[in-house]
């Protein structure tokens, strides 16, 4: 039994990779899977903050890669879900501290420990850190914002996923690609300020696996160290739940992609 490796990547920075990694890993854990989430952004460590475990980091990913600590010592157990573990990045090192062999060893180790899923939170860019994060992946979640520069960078990433990964190099079946549209604002799409779901799908030639609406809950949740998926009342949290279900093979209709219709009272009294 080998672990399924999912890379969360985008090319462009600031589109919501870490937020997505945290919610995806948590969502898979909520579905009963044993999950590890790894921060590949060595030097700009953020995932531990979003997961709310920054004060419990003793050993990190780089330590394990260099054999300075064991996996067991470095995996931080999530405080909400017993079957969810975080492997933090090192803030004091840089991307060169990671090696292909070291990363492979860590992923193999997680497989042996019976993990069902390993979520790799990729750094921005297409350099070493991003390359290592995607190299061993079985699935890729490409996070894209509804704006042209993000879409172009995602296109580049989709090309790299199809050529510069272990599956591509060994001629194995290609990585399953999932496109996740985040920061989606239906009202701004309606007045033409943002690309629509259809625009993005058309440009990139693949279907979205989920659409996460722009929402202040995301920021609040991040600042509190709670993955937004845990907040079942927020639209973003519900959209992430839908997305995780779809990645697990369930069919669910897209929600929150149209401008919410105002109810009768709202129309009468404004609001």
């Amino acid at each position: 039994m080998t672990a399924e490796i999912i890379v969360v990547t985008s090319g462009k920075g600031g589109v919501g990779k870490t937020t997505t990694s945290a919610s995806l890993a948590t969502g898979l854990a909520m579905a009963g899977k044993k999950v590890a989430v790894i921060d590949f952004d060595v030097g700009l460590r953020n995932l531990d903050l979003i997961m709310g475990c920054e004060r419990r980091v003793v050993y990190d990913f780089v330590n394990v890669v260099h054999g300075e600590a064991t996996l067991k010592q470095s995996l931080i157990k999530d405080k909400r879900y017993d079957n969810l573990y975080v492997l933090a990045a090192s803030q004091t090192r840089d991307k060169d501290a990671l090696t292909m062999e070291g990363v492979e060893k860590v992923l193999d180790g997680l497989s042996e420990d019976g993990f069902d899923y390993v979520v790799c939170d990729s750094p921005a860019g297409i350099e070493k850190g991003a390359h290592l994060a995607m190299y061993f992946a079985d699935h890729a979640v490409v996070v894209v914002n509804p704006e042209v520069s993000s879409v172009r960078d995602s296109d580049r990433i989709l090309g790299l996923l199809a050529s510069k990964t272990r599956r591509a190099e060994k001629g194995e079946p290609p990585i399953t690609q999932h496109l996740l549209l985040t920061r989606y604002n239906p009202a701004r799409v309606a007045i033409g300020e943002m690309l629509s779901v259809k625009d993005v799908e058309e440009i990139l030639g693949i279907q979205v696996v989920g659409v996460i609406p722009e929402s202040e809950n995301v920021l609040t949740a991040s600042n509190n160290g709670i993955p937004v998926i845990v907040d079942a009342n927020s639209l973003a949290g519900q959209a992430y739940s839908d997305t995780v279900a779809r990645i697990l093979g369930e069919e669910r209709p897209l929600r929150f992609i149209d401008v919410p219709k105002k109810g009768f009272l709202q129309r009468v009294f404004g609001g």
Binding site: R152, D155, R156, G159, I203
Partner: protein, 255 residues
């Protein structure tokens, strides 16, 4: 205005693209070379008799010495062809060409690199136009080497990817994204959208054409004549179009 007396220049200097046969020498054997070429000339005198050819020595392990090269050139001449230059190789070839008083034909640089296998799917393509062959007279087109078919690319070409179909047509069944490049020495057919760049006739074939079923290109080029599109003309955007060369003008029209 006495300049009007003699308004015409003594000559025009123009670059032209001409096909040129290339004799790729596989082993240093002047007699065998002569025999082989003689056979070709007899078989197709229309095509080969007094045809200008360039000598390509890049497939030999070591560059032969001047005397041997002289003998090879003489073998070509006695077979009935006219050697007009050496194909581009290393700096040694360049020095050799200088000593022989022959031009180096740079056009053959890309096409005759010692890659004998099938062209790789993604090959670094010459970005600029190859220099036109400085031959003295226009001659017959190079013999067509039979039907080489086309290179197929299933699916989309992503931003940052480059596809080069050497010596053949290129068919892309998906889209070509912004920032992606498709290049072919022959024609290009794109059945998805073209948002990136397409360059047909990369080795100078002015008859090459580009066919696109959803036109939104950044740039199209045929045989070095190019057009960039900061703004895509409204009547072409999203339409299926073809591009071709009319003289030196790059034409684009809806299909």
């Amino acid at each position: 205005m006495n300049a009007s007396m003699d308004a015409t220049d003594a000559c025009d200097l123009r670059f032209g693209q001409v096909g040129l046969a290339c004799v790729r020498v596989r082993r240093v054997d002047a007699a065998a070379l002569c025999d082989e070429l003689e056979r070709r000339v007899r078989a197709a005198p229309q095509m080969f008799a007094r045809a200008a050819v360039v000598l390509d020595l890049s497939h030999l392990l070591d560059l032969p010495d001047d005397g041997t090269v002289d003998a090879l050139l003489e073998a070509v001449r006695s077979a009935g062809m006219l050697p007009v230059g050496l194909a581009y190789g290393t700096s040694e070839t360049e020095a050799l060409a200088k000593r022989m008083g022959l031009p180096l034909i740079a056009k053959f640089r890309a096409a005759y690199e010692p890659a004998t296998g099938a062209p790789a799917a993604v090959a670094p393509a010459p970005r600029s136009e190859p220099a036109p062959a400085p031959t003295r007279e226009p001659i017959l087109a190079a013999p067509a080497s039979g039907n080489v078919g086309a290179q197929h690319h299933a699916g989309s070409v992503r931003s940052g990817q480059q596809i080069y179909a050497r010596d053949r047509d290129l068919i892309v069944t998906g889209a070509v994204a912004n920032g992606a490049e498709v290049i072919a020495d022959g024609n290009i057919h794109i059945y998805g959208g073209l948002r990136g760049r397409a360059m047909a006739g990369a080795q100078g074939d002015e008859k090459a054409r580009i066919y696109v079923s959803d036109f939104r290109a950044e740039l199209v080029a045929i045989a070095g004549q190019y057009r960039v599109f900061e703004q895509i003309p409204g009547d072409l955007e999203g339409q299926s179009v073809q591009c071709w060369l009319d003289g030196e003008k790059l034409m684009i029209a809806r299909l």
